[in-house]
């Protein structure tokens, strides 16, 4: 069959069915407040690291929930754990633990891959 060129570019679309959401599940199992986020962006606005480099917890956590782990795996280590986000979060998400768990998950993944 001839290709008419209508194939969508794969990289642009979130392939929800194929994506691996195990990291998000792992975080949620250990930190239930992970699900409470309403994407207000308060954490990123106040973020110490975010002043210097692209680090938005709001963005990273939603990417994890969609299984877009590749975009997160390096950025998640930019956090300084200073704790400002935990003070401003209107939903009481335990943000520092979310980050620590995500870091742990990516580290474990790397170890298993090696």
């Amino acid at each position: 069959m001839s290709n008419f060129g209508f194939t969508l570019l794969k990289a642009r679309r979130i392939d929800y069915d194929a994506n691996d959401r195990s990291i998000a599940d792992f975080i949620h199992d250990n930190e239930p407040s992970f699900r409470w986020c309403i994407e207000c962006g308060c954490c990123s606005a106040t973020c110490t690291s975010g002043n210097y480099i692209g680090f938005s917890l709001r963005e990273l956590q939603i990417l994890l929930k969609r299984g877009e782990n590749e975009e997160v795996k390096e950025k998640i280590f930019n956090c300084m754990l200073c704790g400002k986000c935990i003070l401003v979060c209107p939903r009481g998400v335990n943000t520092r633990n979310v980050i620590a768990l995500a870091q742990e998950a990516f580290k474990n993944k790397k170890q298993h891959a090696v």
């Binding site: 962006g41 606005a45 106040t46 938005s56 709001r58 963005e59 009481g92």
Partner: protein, 342 residues
Amino acid sequence: MKNKVIVIGGGTAGMEVAGQLAKHDCTVTLLERSAETGGHVRDWYHLFPDRKDSREVINYLENLIRHKSISLFTDTDVNDIVRENDFFVVRTSDGKELQADAIVVSTGFDLFRSERKEEYGYGIYDNVISSADLEKMFRNDEIKLQNGNIPSKIGMVHCVGSRDEKVGNVYCSKLCCVTAVKQAIEIVKRIPEAKVFCFYMDIRMGGALYEELYKEAQQDYGVNFIRGKVSEVSQDIDNKLITKVEDTLTGRPLKIGLDMLVLMAGMEMAESGQKIALSAELDTGENRFFKATDLHYGSNKSNKNGIFYAGTCTAPMNITETISHARAAVIDVIDYLNDRSN
């Protein structure tokens, strides 16, 4: 003999209840803890969504309670409510003991005290004001900074004291979004060159004609909407308010220097209401508002037979809803009195 009803709280709900009960042949005692009736509406300039002058509503309510069967006591606080056999005794702060066959609690709401959200700098920085402060400025027709200048960049912060676990209020106050839009329009009307920015988490325009007002603000007044909750505010040497927010739709942190910041204070259960809840053993919910016996068909009924609720002491409501809720309370009171006399 006429039935006696005591209405606690002389705001919109209390005045409506009192007036309607008087029409239905009850003797009403209306207790108001401040010097005059009217409640929060008196502090407001325009009402959404039609920007009606709030004085029209006040006039309507005042006319309504000008009735021979209504006695009004202002500067009167309620100490406690006791049931004695078939009737209630209400003891007031000035030592009165009033008797009634039924009670309507319409203690209303308190506006969230914005200084509790310290990171926004209310009471710390000069030009951080609350939505109520802005209404006063409208009424006095002078929107000015502390140094007397006219502001040209103004931010409206949504959800101050609402939807915020950190101040103990998880609920949505539901009127602040539309208030912000209404106030933004009013600012641009008065200062046409001003730029207004609304910082929101979600825009909740659920009421009649709200969404239309939202579009009007975008279309005719150039109000800017930025999706992100303000995290912190600081002040630079030029007294600019440096406001930090994540522009969540572009995914990048945004910093903006503003002349004035208006905090959209949410609604909380009134402190006076909490006091009554304690002394009369009335149920309150997790959100501290009075808890009616049923959300759907018993929204005016309390857990104590003969005590009823009207208005924003049960949940955030706009004026339309408050008046409807108050009228519904009147039906419940009359039902109760009729059932009792049969």
